[in-house]
């Protein structure tokens, strides 16, 4: 049995969530999305590429 490392979620201040490791992402339609081993998930709600970040948080001044 292979032992996998924990997937890491790093919450970036005023920005997205960086996800690194071995993970799967199921989209809103229930299908698994194709991803690399590192993704950035939108946290501000304004990205045009949701669930992924497209840098829009900077334009809207997301502060969290």
């Amino acid at each position: 049995m292979d032992i996998k490392e924990k997937t890491r979620f790093r919450v970036i201040e005023n920005g997205p969530i960086e996800v690194i490791g071995d993970f799967s992402i199921k989209g809103i339609d229930g299908k698994i999305l194709e991803t690399d081993e590192k993704v950035y998930l939108c946290r501000c709600g304004a990205s045009q590429k949701r669930p992924f970040c497209d840098g829009e948080h900077k334009k809207i001044g997301f502060s969290q």
Binding site: R10, V11, F23, S24
Partner: protein, 163 residues
């Protein structure tokens, strides 16, 4: 001990239990069966809104067992204490689901709602400091939660939509 916020609802055939402390706002229940699970109503669970079979189907989809159900006929045979914990989420059940999908962490993007995460994962701040260890969580995706980075259900109030 039971939490004073816990509630139960019955249609005479089954009883649905509600444990708010376990809810992570995955929103599965009311997205799929608003006739029964409507957070804007009081009480928010209307057991007359659908048939028993449908209520069971949707209640079983709650990822944290914040809502769960029992047949009333079984309740009479069981001591009250044991019924409260029969469907509690435990690390073993998470372990099983992990093997069905080989990824260490399973991420689900909830329509008009948060990012649901379960499995082996850690959450840190920008600097890499771990926030708190957990087996399951939901991250805010609308930008408006007052419990950042976690979901607190505010997406409904602000009308966050994926459409």
């Amino acid at each position: 001990m039971d939490n004073p916020n816990d509630r139960q609802y019955t249609n005479g055939e089954i009883t649905v239990y509600w444990k708010p402390a376990k809810c992570i706002h995955a929103t599965t229940c009311f997205r799929e069966l608003l006739e029964v699970f409507n957070p804007r109503n009081r009480p928010w669970i209307n057991m007359q809104g659908a048939n028993t079979e449908k209520i069971i189907e949707i209640t079983d989809k709650c990822p944290t067992a914040a809502i769960y159900w029992k047949y009333n006929k079984d309740l009479e045979e069981l001591p009250e204490v044991s019924t409260d914990y029969s469907k509690e989420v435990n690390p073993e059940s998470l372990h099983t689901s992990k093997h069905q999908n080989s990824a260490a962490a399973k991420i689900s993007i909830m329509k008009d709602g948060p990012i649901l995460v379960e499995g082996d994962f850690s959450v840190t701040d920008s600097a890499g400091k771990e926030l708190k260890p957990m087996l399951m969580t939901s991250f805010c995706r609308c930008g408006h939660s007052h419990a950042q980075p976690f979901c607190d259900g505010t997406h409904r109030k602000v009308g966050f939509s994926d459409d």
